[in-house]
């Protein structure tokens, strides 16, 4: 990856950087708000995850894609995606261990009260993590351009 050729595309702007710095915490909060409201109102992990992913895209626009790529650890993105899937599966399989069917939430009731709501929220968060990390990964792959895909084996980051 030749970052030298690419730096020309990025223009530093104090206005954009300040705005993004100001707006980013609110956008992330809104993302969590949407995820937590997925259980009983419009919203959920898919929409919230996309909003959370857009935070990283805003940062990339403000501070440069290469800077954002270096700042964001690829391990975090991979862990979010895999961890989300494994969390969802663990919640579902847990009820089988307790003698019920897959995702029969109310079986956890014996441990924690109102667990149905908590379990659904946790599943929404897991989905949000998967969606956000995939959106971020796709953004960086697209931003890298076709030359990057040909240079590195398998074309995956």
């Amino acid at each position: 990856m030749s970052s030298d050729e690419r730096t020309g595309l990025y223009v530093e702007s104090t206005i954009i950087m300040t705005t993004v710095r100001l707006v980013a915490p609110f956008v992330l909060t809104f993302a969590l708000f949407v995820m937590f409201h997925g259980a009983n109102s419009p919203g959920g992990g898919f929409q919230g995850g996309v909003i959370a992913g857009s935070v990283v895209m805003m940062l990339a626009f403000a501070y440069g894609i290469d800077a954002a790529r270096e700042w964001l650890d690829v391990r975090v993105v991979a862990a979010l995606a895999s961890g989300g899937v494994l969390t969802f599966a663990a919640i579902g399989l847990g009820t089988i261990v307790l003698g019920g069917n897959f995702l029969e939430y109310h079986l956890y009731e014996q441990f924690i009260s109102h667990v149905v709501a908590y379990a659904i929220e946790l599943v929404e968060l897991a989905i949000g993590g998967i969606v956000a990390s995939v959106a971020i990964g796709l953004f960086f792959l697209l931003a890298a351009g076709f030359g990057h895909a040909v240079d590195s084996p398998e074309g995956e980051s």
Binding site: A78, A79, V85, A89, G100, F102, L103, E154, G155
Partner: protein, 500 residues
């Protein structure tokens, strides 16, 4: 434990698919062992489930404990049990091929297992909307796998596949919308009783839903003239992926089409609305003829095999649409047999290309002596596909023809018999080249060691790759012995679907 297997069959590959992504951060080669372990478990579970279905009948499962018409129900009967086992076995077999043939990255195996999860989900679900969700998972994973080739042509083929496949899935979704408007339910068993009761079979609403849903799935099955994505996708993907998706993706879509015909619209619908049956049989017959004609005119062997699939799936869909018990058994046998044979044929082309550089019909001349084992397996698989007894291809076609004769559908009988001749035309040409023609590519001009093959992976051919092809050839013959068992399993579970 047995009753939990349907959901475990879907969850296991999803969990397995999440691991290679993280594992690839630690080791480049972690994907393959994880996928192998997962799929060994998958084969065990699917085998146990198929055994349970054949001894004690249909297994159904309410996800989340929500009762059937409202919650999502998973239903495994003889047909879906057999297809689920096929998916597990073929995906494990292709892994043995992938170990050497690549691609080797962690994300590739993540996608691979996701595709297994999608295919298994389509097989075991008893809910039309859930089927759509798994259809999309299957589609997205398949687009990604096709694009994993390093050539630009693989990316173009994947994009074409994506656009056409998404249109097909959207048509199917639109059809579900019409059915939901007509009956207010999404559960297959519930739909089967409510269609005809709440909306007449020949009402515009039900006919539109039928057209959209079946039309959408024929895109995925790749019947002529909706097959245009398929030759590019099969020919440009890495050999591992070609073998995998040519064996399973269209197969499971054809299974889903049969499931809609028998479990949602039912045979009474086909009898009450002859035009629907004739449209489907007509489409299948056109596909048989056109697919064969296109296959004969191909120069590239992989494209020839792809067009051959268009023709063979015409045969399978014709068998399902005729819908006599014998024709359905035949179509199922041919569906399963075709998966093994076509996957084996694609795997064999990969080996022959790596060893000799031959990719075209003319290039195959005289290769019988250069790659004896692979070429022999290729020949056996070709003849099995033509329908030479005692191979499984013969049994499937024979039952479909008998079913058509029983239904006194003489036009279809004529097309079916003609199709065998056409299949012979393009496969006999290849087998003749392999063994009786003067070589056009000579051993004295070996392929340079660093010459890139279509997918840019290594030239080496491992024992595992050849073993897979030989095993496919053996199975293509040996599966004939399993047909009575399959027939008994289908007859136990199908009469309620085929009552007439």
């Amino acid at each position: 434990m047995i009753e939990q297997i349907p959901v475990l069959l879907v969850v296991l590959p999803i969990v397995g698919g999440a691991v290679p992504l993280v594992a690839s951060l630690v080791s480049d080669r972690a994907g393959w062992p994880v996928a192998t372990l997962t799929l060994i478990g998958q084969v065990g579970l699917a085998g146990l489930l198929a055994w349970s279905v054949s001894t004690s009948g249909t297994v159904s499962y309410a996800v989340g404990g929500f009762a059937a018409p409202y919650g999502i129900e998973l239903v495994v009967d003889g047909l879906s049990g057999a297809v689920a086992l096929l998916v597990a076995v073929v995906s494990l077999g292709v892994l043995a091929y992938a170990r050497q043939a690549g691609p080797h990255s962690g994300p590739f195996y993540g996608l691979y297992l996701l595709l297994v999860a999608g295919l298994t989900g389509m097989t075991v679900t008893g809910d039309v909307f859930n089927l759509y969700v798994f259809l999309e998972i299957t589609g997205l994973a398949a687009y990604g796998l096709v694009a994993s080739g390093r050539d630009a042509s693989a990316a173009v083929a994947a994009l074409k596949y994506l656009i056409i496949g998404t249109v097909g899935a959207s048509l199917y979704l639109l059809g579900i919308g019409y059915l939901l408007a007509a009956t207010g339910t999404l559960n297959m068993a519930d739909l089967a009783t409510k269609i005809g009761e709440m909306a007449a079979y020949d009402s515009t609403l039900v006919l539109t839903a039928f057209g959209l849903m079946i039309g959408g799935l024929t895109v995925k099955v790749a019947l002529f003239p909706l097959h245009t994505w398929q030759p590019d996708a099969y020919a440009n993907a890495p050999d591992t992926v070609s073998a995998f998706i040519s064996a399973l993706v269209s197969t499971v879509s054809a299974y889903a089409l049969a499931r809609l015909l028998f479990s949602v619209f039912t045979v009474e619908f086909l009898s009450a609305v002859p035009v629907a049956r004739w449209a489907l049989v007509g489409l299948a017959c056109v596909s048989i003829i056109a697919g064969s004609a296109l296959a004969v005119s191909q120069d590239s062997v992989q494209r020839m095999l792809a067009y051959s699939s268009v023709s063979q799936f015409g045969l399978v869909v014709a068998g399902f649409a005729i819908a006599t018990p014998l024709a359905v058994v035949g179509a199922t046998v041919h569906l399963l047999g075709h998966a093994v044979m076509k996957g084996g044929l694609f795997a064999a082309t990969g080996i022959i290309e790596r060893k000799t550089g031959a990719t075209t019909v003319n290039g195959y001349a005289g290769m019988g002596s250069r790659v004896p084992l692979s070429a022999f397996s290729f020949a056996v698989l070709s003849l099995a596909m033509v329908g030479v007894p005692p191979a499984v291809g013969f049994v499937g076609k024979w039952y479909i023809v008998l079913g058509a004769v029983n239904a006194e559908n003489w036009a279809v009988v004529a097309v079916l018999l003609a199709s065998t001749l056409l299949t012979l035309a393009y496969f006999a040409r290849l087998v003749e080249r392999l063994y009786f023609a003067e070589a056009t590519i000579h051993a004295e001009e070996p392929v340079p060691e660093d010459a890139p093959v279509t997918d840019g992976s290594g030239q080496a051919v491992s024992f595992g790759m050849i073993a897979v092809v030989v095993l496919a050839a053996v199975l293509a013959v040996a599966l004939t012995a399993a047909v009575p068992e399959l027939q008994a399993m289908l007859e136990d579970t199908l009469p309620p679907l085929l009552n007439q």
